[in-house]
């Protein structure tokens, strides 16, 4: 880091909040994706003024800045390119205000999801989008990628709950978007623009979130399918049941085998398993809902259908689902997790197509995911040190994205584009759309200093 810029940063945040030591630089090179690059330095910011002053400095000196929360993103959104300054937001971690009567909570971006959950639970409330990394991820990161979670089918994603933001835009100006009201259509919806913008349009420094009262009862059940397509059809037909389950997850064959190898859950080794949850305020209500869903399972050739008899049984089933990523990553040296999303009617086709791609390229693509909103998680498992397998993986990925687009789907339901899917943006977005996106980026960040090189915005 050039000495004068280092000094300028220290002048803004103080010596104790600046680092360029090797151990920090290595850590900040990585998030949870397969990408890494050394930043030039990192700063811990504590106030919105810090952020504003740093972005002004970055513009003056043409030095890139990459904001970062917990670094658990899967697509390289937080990977610092071009010797960027990493802006570690995790010390801005205050829950500023909980207002049950206004049905909202105001948080700083560094608040960890689990800490927010704990604070809201005291009031019998929760923030529904529940990413799997909830014990460690930060709300700033959730906003940056429009994080989803298993409850997405019924409760939506982060974007559905962000009422307003305080953002520092790349020229250093501090701006508010949205409001603290339940609804507003005043001016352009800038809030929705920033949510999911992956730190390329501004640095979020305060978030106002709508919250929901917690339900108190739930019914969980599991259904096995000897035929993947039956499972897929069951998922899309659930819409006819009149019930929207709070959770609807699918586990594919490879995933089931891996879970069984690594736990003593002893799941039936079928083509697919569906896990469903219905929620409400009385068990009578949730059981009633589950009955409707079970009917759909039966109509679609479900083999075994089992309702969880106790909370413990239910939590065992969910633990199985949650362990999928980890147990699959123990098989070979490398994993890459995708999150392609298709209309619910196309789930069966997507599953079939993935199977074909996997066989064609001779690479393990285990599937599981949020069947309830069409968001599958095909997980590529391969030996990353074998150049042949790396090539297979790349070819298979490309075919997967093409298949997804052909089915009317989208490259990513909740992880974001980052670096991982940037090469495929033009598969999904037409030239006009790409032009508009790049235009917006240029408007807000003419010097391209904020998280450059992501989302194919540079080309």
């Amino acid at each position: 880091m050039a000495e004068k810029i280092k000094q300028a940063l220290i002048d803004i945040v103080g010596e104790n909040n600046y680092t360029d030591s090797l151990i920090d630089m290595v850590s900040y090179s990585y998030d949870a994706s397969e990408y890494s690059q050394r930043p030039s330095c990192a700063v811990w910011v504590e106030t919105v003024e810090h952020v504003s002053d740093i972005l002004k400095l970055a513009n003056r000196e043409h030095v890139p800045v990459v904001p970062r929360g917990a670094g658990t993103g899967l697509t390289g959104t937080a990977t610092p390119l071009n010797e960027a300054i990493v802006l570690d937001m995790s010390r801005m971690n205050e829950i500023i205000k909980i207002s049950i009567e206004d049905r909202l909570v105001i948080v700083q971006p560094g608040v960890v999801y689990a800490d927010l959950e704990k604070a809201l639970a005291q009031y019998g409330f929760f923030f529904p989008p529940d990413p799997a990394s909830g014990t460690v991820c930060t709300l700033g990161g959730n906003v940056s990628t429009n994080a989803g979670g298993v409850k997405g089918a019924k409760y939506g994603t982060t974007r559905d709950y962000v009422l307003g933001l305080q953002v520092v835009i790349p020229d250093g100006r501090i701006m508010r978007t949205g409001s603290r009201t339940m609804k507003s259509v005043s001016g352009y919806d800038l809030t929705k623009l920033f949510v999911g913008s992956e730190g390329t349009l501004g640095v979020v420094t305060e978030i106002t979130l709508k919250i929901n009262p917690k339900t108190t009862a739930a019914t969980t059940s599991m259904a096995t399918f000897d035929n993947l397509e039956d499972a897929g059809r069951a998922v899309s037909q659930i819409m006819y049941s009149g019930i929207i389950p709070s959770v609807l997850e699918i586990l594919g064959h490879d995933t089931i085998m891996a879970i069984n190898r690594n736990t003593d859950l002893d799941l039936p080794e079928v083509d697919a398993i569906l896990l469903a949850e219905t929620d409400g305020y009385t068990t009578a209500e949730t059981d009633f809902q589950m009955e409707k869903i079970i009917e759909v399972f039966k109509k679609n050739n479900a083999g075994k259908i089992k309702r969880a008899e106790s909370e413990e049984e239910a939590s065992d089933l969910w633990a199985a689902r949650k362990s999928a990523y980890a147990v699959l990553s123990r098989i070979k040296t490398h994993v890459v997790l995708e999150d392609v999303t298709v209309p619910m009617t196309k789930i069966a086709d997507l599953l079939k197509g993935i199977k074909a791609i996997s066989e064609k390229h001779n690479i393990i693509i285990a599937t599981y995911g949020h069947a309830g909103d069409g968001n599958l998680h095909p997980q590529f498992v391969y030996d990353g040190y074998d150049p042949k397998q790396v090539k297979s993986k790349e070819a298979a990925s490309a075919e997967l994205f093409q298949l997804t687009i052909d089915l009317g789907g989208t490259l990513t339901g909740e992880h974001g584009i980052g670096l991982q899917k940037a090469p495929f943006m033009t598969l999904e977005h037409d030239p006009a759309a790409m032009d508009v996106m790049r235009g917006i980026k240029r408007l807000l960040d003419p010097n391209n200093i904020l998280n450059p090189g992501k989302m194919a915005l540079d080309e």
Binding site: I23, W44, Y325, S329, Y385
Partner: protein, 369 residues
């Protein structure tokens, strides 16, 4: 990449595991060093990233890495929660040995190794308390105090011994020396001379049981090959909570009491219930903190961190005590002098709860009866 010759033992032994780290970052939820500093470089993932880069030849294993690789309490919370099953503490311990062998090490630990060559304890103190009791008698049981109990928490040790006396336990103290188990965790090896001394002293008493209040010492005696002879000759090593759990203490308190699981007793030895059994008998108003049993928060003292990174160590202890505050505990109990030392140092003046070893607490109840 994996055609490169493994340069270090940690790579020979743990390469697969280091590669298994999928960088998910879930360890950030439980690592006490990360929790109290919010510095990713000090988190378990941060350490694995450094080691991956060492293995790939991108960086060197040298002084620059000390601040991360020697700042780990080896509490194993990360391992307990790692979806990929990476045994970070075991890897770290081996890495430290590799670093020492190439001449790079935290000065506090190098110092500790040197001290134990010339002194009987890690503090280089020469005057051990004798607690007014005869040492090296013939007895059924040897009570082994441990360095922290002898030189930093004498009041607590005195109370534990008083309790044993009240219970008419036939025990003797010995002219003990440091079990030196800690050296294995900070890059060195158990001091064979010291181990030998302890073994001889124990045999000389004729005791068939060794009890200690120090979970670390009990682990060392039970697991390390240098103490195998103890086990071979039929000496049974117990932590004092295991020994006392069936005693009827005959005292009670209605104070709101909680229990802190020491990492070395809980996660490392699986001893969670024995201390609780003792407590429940004397304190019916027993409440768990938010993190307990295998999820217990590390007090921050272990793995040499209290000696080498005292400020951060105390910050970790403070974080643990906040959980006691959150449940309005009046008394925080544990049975480990190292935890007692760190927790009581970290306790703020405005925090009105008290921190005790179970044995001392019981002794006080008996005294006040």
């Amino acid at each position: 990449m994996n055609k490169m010759e493994a340069k270090y033992d940690f790579e020979r032994k743990y390469r697969e595991q280091v590669l298994q780290c999928s960088r998910c970052g879930f360890c950030q939820a439980v690592c006490p060093v990360f929790g109290s500093t919010l510095r990713p470089a000090l988190n378990a993932r941060g350490k694995m990233l450094l080691l991956k880069e060492v293995m790939d030849g991108k960086i060197q294993l040298d002084d620059e890495l000390i601040e991360s690789l020697f700042q780990c309490t080896t509490c194993a919370s990360c391992f307990e929660n790692c979806p990929s099953g990476v045994n970070v503490p075991d890897i770290i311990k081996q890495v430290r040995k590799d670093m020492v062998s190439i001449g790079t090490c935290h000065p506090a630990f190098k110092g500790m190794n040197e001290v134990l060559k010339r002194h009987t304890n890690i503090y280089a103190e020469d005057d051990a308390e004798d607690f007014g009791r005869e040492k090296n008698r013939k007895a059924e049981i040897v009570y082994f105090v441990g360095c922290v109990g002898l030189y930093r928490e004498e009041e607590s040790t005195e109370a534990t011994l008083d309790l044993l006396d009240r219970l008419n336990v036939d025990y003797t103290l010995i002219d003990e020396v440091c079990c030196s188990g800690v050296l294995e965790d900070v890059g060195f090896e158990i001091n064979e001379e010291l181990a030998r001394k302890n073994i001889e002293l124990v045999f000389a008493t004729g005791a068939k049981t060794l009890i200690t209040g120090c979970p670390y010492c009990s682990r060392t005696f039970n697991n390390k090959p240098q103490y195998a002879e103890l086990r071979e000759k039929g000496v049974n090593v117990l932590h004092i909570s295991q020994f006392l759990k069936d005693f009827d203490m005959g005292v009670k308190t209605d104070k709101k009491v909680t229990y802190h699981d020491p990492c070395d007793l809980g996660r490392h030895c699986g001893i969670y219930e024995e201390p609780r059994e003792i407590i429940r008998k004397i304190a019916p108003n027993f409440v768990e903190m938010a993190h307990h049993h295998a999820d217990s928060l590390c007090c921050g003292a272990g793995g040499g961190v209290r000696g080498a990174y005292a400020k951060n160590s105390l910050a970790m202890a403070r974080r643990r005590l906040q959980e006691a505050e959150e449940i309005d505990a009046e008394v925080v109990l544990t049975e480990c002098n190292s935890c007692i030392h760190n927790l009581s140092n970290a306790k703020l003046r405005r925090q009105k709860f008290e921190v005790y070893n179970i044995t001392r607490f019981i002794n006080e109840l008996m005294e006040n009866k």
